[in-house]
């Protein structure tokens, strides 16, 4: 009621405040748009590496974007990066748990069926040898092999590697995003690098 009285008595002041508020919201939306546009593609690749599926990855990224805007959009811009990674990694962990349960049931039902052969990552690379240079082709094959190797890592190692090596978060930020201690981050990262080198070392193009 007092707000109405205030608005009635000082209409020019209240409309000015309203305009300023609207401008601030617009600025914030633009800032959020810029931020999300800057991280969305990397976030998608992170989720794709983790899930191995483009549609699942898209859902996870969309979910993370929505949560950031809805819950933390009013926070300081500097906090958006770590918060976004925390949300995304948490969504990926949830996805992993669900997938684990799903796979356990699937394995139980198809116990007598033959084990399905794992896809060869190099087979999934489109045969564009006629269009690409040798260097581009080698890069594509290297990426496919890295994707596949990353997928074989335990989730925590995979997250530590992606956040430390690719996203270049420091140990503290990585620990916050992964929801674990800094010591665990160091261990997971070290093991991830060593495991990847071992997996790829011999035939990484």
């Amino acid at each position: 009621m007092s707000a109405t009285v205030f608005e009635l008595s000082l209409p020019h002041v209240s409309s000015g405040l309203r305009l300023r508020g609207r401008a601030a919201t617009l600025d914030r939306n633009q800032a959020l748009d810029r931020f999300l546009a800057g991280v969305e593609r990397r976030a998608f690749r992170m989720a794709q590496v983790a899930t191995g599926d483009a549609d699942e990855a898209m859902d996870l990224v969309q979910d993370a974007m929505l949560k950031l805007v809805q819950r933390y959009g009013a926070r300081d811009e500097a906090e958006w990066g770590p918060l976004f990674h925390t949300i995304l990694q948490s969504r990926i962990r949830d996805w992993y748990r669900r997938a684990k349960v799903r796979n356990r049931w699937r394995a139980w039902f198809s116990r007598h069926e033959d084990e399905t052969e794992q896809d060869d990552p190099l087979e999934s690379v489109a045969d564009t040898s006629n269009l690409l240079s040798d260097e581009q082709l080698a890069q594509k094959r290297a990426m496919a092999a890295l994707d596949q190797a990353l997928r074989t890592l335990p989730l925590r190692q995979q997250q530590a590697f992606v956040l430390r090596a690719w996203e270049e978060l420091d140990v503290e930020q990585t620990a916050a995003a992964m929801g674990c201690s800094e010591g665990s981050v160091k261990t997971h990262y070290f093991r991830a690098v060593r495991a990847l080198r071992q997996l790829l070392g011999a035939h990484w193009p």
Binding site: N29, L32, D33, L36, A37, E40, R41, R42, F44, R45, A54, M58, V61, Q62, M65, L66, L68, V69, Q70, R71, G73, A74, Q139, A142, M143, L146, D147, F161, V162, R164, A165, W166, E168, K186, T187, Y189, F190, V193, R194, L196, R197
Partner: protein
């Protein structure tokens, strides 16, 4: 356990980073479009009202309601707006009683006449 990376480890991590960066640039147009669409949808959804804000507004509404009720109850009886009693309603709705009410003056006169006579 020693968790320090050596030079080869760091070179390996740097190469992996370059490849991952490159893979982002290589994302096809469909994925990019879907990501843009997801972003627009998230921004359109806007900030959610926090649970505390919902509680505060609910509490405020309840307080206003309680205050209004107590103010109405606390005002003196004669100031309360007149609400027709059941008898009055009966009087209004019954055609017989309306006729009777019209003869009120006659009854008053009759009563006066009895005392004086």
């Amino acid at each position: 356990m020693n968790t320090e990376l050596n030079k080869d480890d760091e070179r390996f991590a740097a190469r992996a980073k370059r490849l991952l960066d490159h893979s982002v640039e290589e994302l096809d147009a469909t994925i990019t479009r879907r990501l843009q669409h997801a972003r627009v949808q998230a921004l359109d959804a806007g900030p959610a009202r926090s649970r505390s804000a919902i509680w505060v507004s609910g509490l405020a509404m309840a307080t206003v309601g309680a205050l209004s009720l107590s103010m109405w109850l606390m005002q003196p009886v004669h100031e309360r707006p007149h609400t027709p009693a059941l008898d009055d309603i009966e009087l209004i709705t019954s055609a017989e009683n309306v006729d009777l009410a019209e003869d009120f003056e006659f009854y008053h006169w009759l009563a006066d006449a009895d005392t004086t006579g």
